[in-house]
């Protein structure tokens, strides 16, 4: 299954959009380096619509209590309900449990079109 979801210029770096691949709800994300990624639009926890969440960064793991460092700006997709953090550039894996991840889809650029496929 393969589908054009938008023009490349219609989704700016740091933005996301909801679309469908056939009948599957999909969220397409564009990271700050201009790359495109696509995931299931349903959070694996309780099914929240991920497209209503936020593309943001995350506080980096540290060995020092009280130390805050913000990293991965534009690379984290955060759930609109419970706030779970998924790493866009690491196959949609959950930061606290990388063994769990959002189902992902292939994205290619054909001419100026963003194409999602599975």
């Amino acid at each position: 299954m393969k589908q054009v979801v938008c023009k490349k210029t219609e989704l700016q770096p740091g933005e996301k959009m909801r679309t469908n691949l056939g009948r599957i709800p999909v969220v397409v994300c564009r990271t700050l380096d201009g790359e495109f990624y696509a995931f299931s639009n349903s959070c694996i926890h309780q099914g929240a619509p991920m497209s209503e969440g936020a593309i943001c960064g995350a506080t980096a793991p540290t060995d020092t209590p009280g130390e805050y460092r913000y990293e991965k700006e534009g690379e984290i997709l955060r759930c609109p309900w419970h706030g779970r953090e998924y790493d866009i550039k690491n196959e949609g894996r959950m930061l606290v449990d990388p063994s769990r991840r959002l189902p992902s889809f292939k994205v290619s650029i054909e001419d100026d079109n963003v194409v999602v496929s599975k």
Partner: protein, 365 residues
């Protein structure tokens, strides 16, 4: 009618949602306030004291990011949007409104006259704009509990409304079981109302705030445990035998530990509280229900272990906590349960708890 719009599968899953947060922005209350109270908001920009020191936990503060009203108003402030996103979409039979704890008249640390006026205004606003506009919604009476006589008068004033199901007491730093507050329970019982307790800003760590939100949110059930213990050992349920208590948004998994611990203490220390006539665990079983949210993720086997230790299938009532960030989905939050128990948790237990909510026949009976 609600039933006519439901699919067969929704009918099978009858649902009473025991925790829905409607929100009044202060401007909503102004038409329901007399002077001088109105002028304290319009001229002096009165705001309720709030103390939480943390950056809010999720991407939209304490709300679901998708629950903000499309015109920009706060989540929970618009009935039509709530109907669309929650009541109609999920297929609720009934929902219990529990307010947004801002304003929370019973939480004010002074100026109880203002608190009393706010409670009256809030109740009138709630009745006119929510309870009388959607047959599925039932309400919680706001009071200024710090002044039990005024609180009892407010309960008498609106308690006979057919859609007012309970009196709301916030969990902050007042222990409501103290005999000083018993006029509240007396008025509730006289009006066939239950008590709903929901935390607001409980000081869970030695009267102060812990360093991080994650600590505070993890330990909220301790503030619920304190209230349950306080009401039981102050004899509230012996003095008011028809009174029941819904503990809202603390979950239920603390209950087995608390029941066992109170029983053990009662065996040893009954002489201190001779007005308590039954084992505390039995009082809990006969008088108290617990809402599910926020659910810890667990298997059916784990879930049933908690039920087994509570000694009853009649004490757990489903809740979503809509529109808050830790909302629980009716279709995803609980493990798959056997049908009789599922019916109890999603509908029958709350239906039995709230005498004003009429029964809807259906499901797999």
């Amino acid at each position: 009618m609600v039933e006519q719009t439901q699919t067969n599968s929704q009918k099978d899953r009858r649902l009473i949602d025991t925790d829905i947060h409607e929100r009044a922005v202060y401007e909503d209350l102004i038409p329901y306030l007399d002077n001088p109270w109105k002028r304290y908001i319009t001229d002096c920009h009165w705001l309720q004291e709030k103390h939480m020191p943390y950056t809010q936990p999720s991407i939209a503060g304490v709300d679901r990011a998708d629950a903000r009203v499309p015109d920009g108003r706060p989540a929970g402030s618009d009935l039509a949007f709530m109907q669309k996103q929650l009541l109609d979409d999920i297929g609720h039979n009934y929902g219990i409104l529990t307010g947004a704890l801002d304003p929370s008249p019973s939480s004010m640390h002074g100026w109880y006259e203002m608190a009393t006026a706010l409670a009256t205004a809030y109740n009138n606003w709630q009745i006119e704009n929510w309870l009388e506009k959607d047959e599925r919604l039932y309400g919680s009476i706001q009071i200024a509990g710090q002044d039990p006589q005024e609180a009892a008068r407010e309960i008498e004033r609106v308690g006979s409304h057919p859609k007012m199901a309970q009196v709301l007491l916030p969990i902050d730093d007042i222990l409501w079981g103290d005999p000083y507050y018993h006029p509240i329970f007396e008025a509730a019982e006289r009006n066939n109302l239950m008590i709903g307790m929901h935390h607001n800003e409980p000081p869970t760590h030695f009267g102060k705030w812990p360093r991080y939100f994650i600590e505070w949110h993890t330990m909220i059930p301790t503030s619920h445990m304190i209230q349950v213990s306080n009401l039981i050992f102050n004899g509230v349920f012996d003095k008011f035998p028809n009174l029941k208590l819904m503990m809202i948004e603390g979950g239920f998994t603390y209950a087995p530990h608390l029941m066992r611990k109170m029983d053990q203490q009662y065996k040893d220390l009954r002489h201190e509280v001779p007005w308590v006539k039954r084992m505390p665990s039995r009082i809990v079983q006969e008088h108290i229900c617990f809402t599910t949210q926020p659910m810890e993720e667990m298997s059916k086997r784990e879930f049933m272990q908690y039920v087994d230790q509570m000694g009853s299938e009649d004490m757990i009532c489903f809740s979503t906590d809509y529109p808050h960030w830790d909302y629980d989905s009716p279709t995803r939050a609980l493990p798959s349960l056997e049908e009789p128990l599922r019916q109890k948790i999603f509908y029958e237990n709350a239906n039995a708890f709230y005498p004003k909510i009429p029964d809807i026949k259906g499901g797999n009976e």
